[in-house]
Amino acid sequence: MSAILLGILALPILAALALWAIPASIGDRLAAMYGSVISGLVLIGSLLLWPRSEGWFAYVPSQDQLLREGSRPLQAVTDVPWIPALGVRFHVAVDSISMPLIVLTALLTFVCCLYSLKITPRIGRTRSLIALLLVIEAGVIGAFSSMDLVLFFVCFEIVLIPMWLVIDIWGDDHDPVGRKRAANTFVLMTVLGSALMLLGFLLVYRQAGTFDLVQLTNSPVLGGHGVPLAAALLIAVGLAVKVPLWPLHIWLPDAHAKAPTVGSVLLAGVLLKLGTYGLIRILVPVLPDATATMAPYLAGFATVAIIAGSLACLAQTDVKRLIAYSSVGHMGFIVLGISTLSQAGLHGALFANIAHGIITGLLFFLAGAIKDRHDTSDLRTIGRALYARLPRIGGLLTFASLASLGLPGLAGFWGEMLVLLGAYRPADSLPRTTYLVFMVIAGLGTVLTAAYFLRLVRNLCQGDPAENPASAFAVDLSRIELITWAPLITLTVLLGVWPGLLLHQWGTL
């Protein structure tokens, strides 16, 4: 097991290095094929790792039980010292929380590589793009599987420069200044956030004397004030930049809008999850009391994010920006769920993580497809009546919008429902009335969410075809698009009708 995990960590990196080592002239197609094979292997590997036991190590009552063979929910453990002088270990493992996210990462990367077989940014250089995607994949999987705070931090940072390059080089070729600024804002804000997060980790280390997450989870840093609170605050701020939580979300719309399609997909589908995963994996179990102190405020910001994100979407004129802002709202739901500290809320947050990854990935693919066909992502320039011009893509856009606005029966619903349920009954230590208010506001947020998605569908898909003639190059859904999107569509429906598929994994958190 641990060999598989190490394999899926190392394979993308080595493959990326190998890809750079071979001459640039190998051709884009071959590079994409190579990337598809590698990421396909990683996907298979990650599926092999799918946990067979339930539960989460955090709530295993005692250390003994944790270490007893067979009942240990942590799988594929590799734990070797790395930098003894700093107390850093190379400790990776997976459990039922990280596993779905790892599979999601592998899936989205695979899909992105497949997509690049046929559809690549105009600037070319697909070889480097594929290599960077693989590096990002390795970094994200590393972050999801690391059981050491510093290792998590390192993996958290690994993705930054590749993502910066992806936005800066392959981004919107109409707006070089804008894409440069977007890339810089993204990378600088994230770096500042992660540096603050590191300070929080170090405070934890000062209190607990270890960076090891398993140990920290089993004997958390108690106390809701003073140093633990400072640590929790710093970690929360660092992760909130990544999530991104209002008002630290400002990098997100630009980054998404300017990134190439595959960049947006990975950014929204996977990278944002690092933040929420960190909150669930690190903040909640390691600093329980401080998190409880902070949770109402976190929930407040999350609620504002839901409303502000949705409102901002209502006034967007750019389809990619709109979807980006919708992520702000959705991630707000996830943070709200986490900050309820309740079973339902955490389950909801975890579920919404996956669902958002799949659905927003699909949405960005669709937005990319529309953008490629019209050479712009501005709603007014694209025109209306996509149903008439590109009926399949228009239909899929409607489907994805409905999924994203949380229609029951599709994946988006369960996460948000559980989050609201969590807010209805938050953990005992939290002020219930406050959370009820948040719940109601968040509930209204879902209506706003519906409003902007319907507005999007109305302004893009519907309309009089006579006034919006088809452009010459607009071809409906191509085969590669269908192939790459099919898994996402399938999962959206599957998780919608069978949420137990994931919820079952988590058992009692």
Partner: protein, 587 residues
């Protein structure tokens, strides 16, 4: 090819529903749960059940859906694949609601219906009114659904289960019970277009007529009634909720009937009449008695038949004439052209309207009487709610007769009076009324469309007798009088060629505009504000930080004058400053 497949699938599925209803008829009630998963101490999953209510609703849904699917074969020519697929999904969602024993499973069907209605109302997405009507429908029902979801939380957590069959009102504390049912009621109000969330239903009329039939007769709006009937134990345990329901229902039925009296389009009249009739069902439910529930369900069934029929008839008008507006239809009425050309339609529509108006002998008459009777019995027991319901339903009966009569006359008969009377339907072109359009090509619809009409017309009469006729002759005569009281003024106005429509009614009490001003405009403003805030405040800080960095950078570069003595001076000053600073920090 795909369209044909979906056509077959659609008809087949609705027949399957009918078949299922037939098979399940008489089977003892049962439940089954599946795909459960536990979240903490809660179980989230799916469950189905079967009992009399399920069978009844399955039958209604199945029959109406079959009629609609078959009718659509003739009605719809463009984008048939997506249309039939969505209608099928719509039906399936309603079936889900009907058979569900899990609140979440029910919610899935509940909201998928909303989505399907959105997509179907927006079927003619080229049209502006269809687009906005669709959005309105979805958003208003969604708003109600949020309350519905919260209601599920309250009840589910209060009872510790999300299974409907396990919801025991005695196990839930009274406060939670009231809160939970009130929240569910919000969802019901949204779905069934009751006041104050009533405006979406009339605006949903640009959708294809068969879809309107489906929405109004068997699915979507009926789901609200069904839900309360399903959770009747829980609802009736909360007196407050029932009172609220009664008030909402009474206000709605009068409001909607009044609006229907001034509407100038067949489908809009029918839409308002649906709202009004649903309110009658709710008022029956709000009595909290077994008789009330029975009356409500009885009315639900008959209403499904005649309202489905009416909408399909309106569809024929639209299909054959091209419009359902009074002003257009009137042009075809010279020499009874319309009713001669569309003979089947005319007859079935007359039956439908008679049933709706409650003409004795038709199904609607019997079901409405059951409601009045239940209300009367309740009122006689000293219930204020009963009295309110009784009075409202009686008034509504009269109003209903008025607008049915008005529509029937104006659509199919030429007024004997001269044109130009008060409020008569005038075109912009005054002489247009005199030109008779070319009616030579006016034919009745193909048989696939007429067959459902005939079937439903039969049902609109026969359903009144399936329950066994047990009339309270006093009530029957009172209601007959009420029908006459309503119908006669309509006739008299028509014969004088006048149709006075008070502005207030014509504008539907200005609710739509008020909502626009109260909600849509502020939200749009807020949206602009948010974007501006993001750009100028939060973004401003970020940009400001960047600019500050740049400026500082330029500043430091300026300081780098190249003069070594400047550097030395800075250093000496720095030493002194450092000493002071360290002293300050140290002490």
């Amino acid at each position: 090819m795909i369209a044909t497949a979906w056509r077959v699938a659609g008809v087949g599925f609705s027949l399957l529903v009918v078949l299922a209803a037939g098979l399940l008829y008489g089977v003892s009630p049962d439940q089954a749960a599946f795909l459960n998963s536990s979240v903490g101490d809660l179980t989230i999953g799916f469950a189905v059940r079967t009992d009399d209510l399920t069978v009844l609703m399955l039958a209604v849904v199945g029959v109406i859906a079959t009629c609609v699917q078959v009718y659509s074969l003739g009605y719809l020519h463009q984008r048939a694949a997506s249309y039939h697929a969505l209608v099928t999904l719509f039906t399936a969602a309603m079936v889900t609601v009907v058979i569900s024993d899990s609140l979440f499973f029910l919610l899935i069907g509940w909201e998928v219906m909303g989505a399907c209605s959105y997509l179907l109302i927006g079927h003619y997405w080229e049209r502006r009114d269809a687009r906005s009507g669709a959005i309105k429908a979805f958003l208003m029902t969604r708003l109600g659904d949020v309350g519905f979801l919260f209601g599920i939380f309250v009840l589910g957590l209060g009872a510790g289960t999300f299974r409907i069959s396990e919801l025991d009102p005695a196990a839930i504390s009274p406060g939670l019970l009231t809160g939970g049912t009130l929240l569910l009621l919000v969802g019901v109000v949204g779905k069934s277009a009751q006041v104050p969330l009533q405006t979406w239903l009339p605006d949903a009329m640009p959708g294809p007529s068969p879809v309107s039939a489906l929405i109004h007769a068997a699915t979507m709006v009926a789901a609200g009634v069904f839900l309360i009937a399903r959770l009747y134990d829980v609802f009736s345990a909360s007196q407050t909720t029932m009172t609220v329901l009664a008030v909402v229902a009474c206000v709605t039925m009068l409001f909607a009937a009044l609006c229907a009296m001034a509407a100038v389009e067949v489908k809009r009249v029918l839409a308002w009449s649906t709202v009004s009739q649903l309110a009658i069902m709710f008022s029956a439910l709000s009595l909290g008695t077994t008789a009330g529930r029975h009356a409500a369900l009885f009315h639900l069934v008959t209403h499904a038949a005649f309202k489905g029929l009416l909408f399909l008839c309106a569809g024929v008008l639209l299909h054959q004439v091209g419009s359902a507006a009074f002003v257009v239809l009137r042009r075809y009425t010279r020499r009874g052209r319309l009713r001669k050309a569309l003979r089947v339609t005319f007859v079935t529509m007359t039956i439908g309207l008679a049933s709706l108006a409650g003409v004795p002998g038709f199904a609607g008459f019997f079901s409405k009487d059951t409601v009045i009777e239940a209300a009367w019995h309740h009122a006689r027991d000293g219930s204020v709610v009963g009295w309110i319901v009784l009075v409202s339903v009686c008034l509504t009966a009269a109003f209903t007769a008025f607008y049915c009569m008005r529509m029937w006359l104006w659509v199919f008969f030429r007024t004997p009076a001269l044109a130009g009377a008060l409020g008569a339907f005038e075109d912009e072109n005054a002489t247009a009324d005199l030109d008779e359009p070319d009616t030579s090509k006016l034919r009745d619809a193909p048989w696939v469309m007429l067959a459902p009409l005939v079937l439903l017309a039969f049902a609109a009469i026969a359903l009144g007798y399936v329950d066994g006729v047990h009339l309270d002759w006093v009530i029957a005569s009172v209601s007959t009088v009420l029908v006459l009281l309503g119908a006669l003024p309509a006739y008299s106005l028509w014969s004088r060629g006048a149709d006075p429509r008070p502005v207030l009614l014509e504008r539907e009490f200005g609710v739509g505009t008020a909502y626009h001003v109260m909600f849509v405009v502020p939200v749009q403003l807020l949206a602009k504000l948010t974007v501006a805030g993001d750009r100028d405040v939060i973004g401003g800080y970020v940009r400001g930080a960047g600019r500050a960095g740049t400026l500082a950078s330029q500043g430091f570069r300026k300081l780098q004058t190249g003069n070594v003595q400047t550097y030395l001076t800075a250093a000496v000053v720095g030493v002194v400053a450092l000493a002071v600073l360290a002293g300050v920090i140290g002490s």
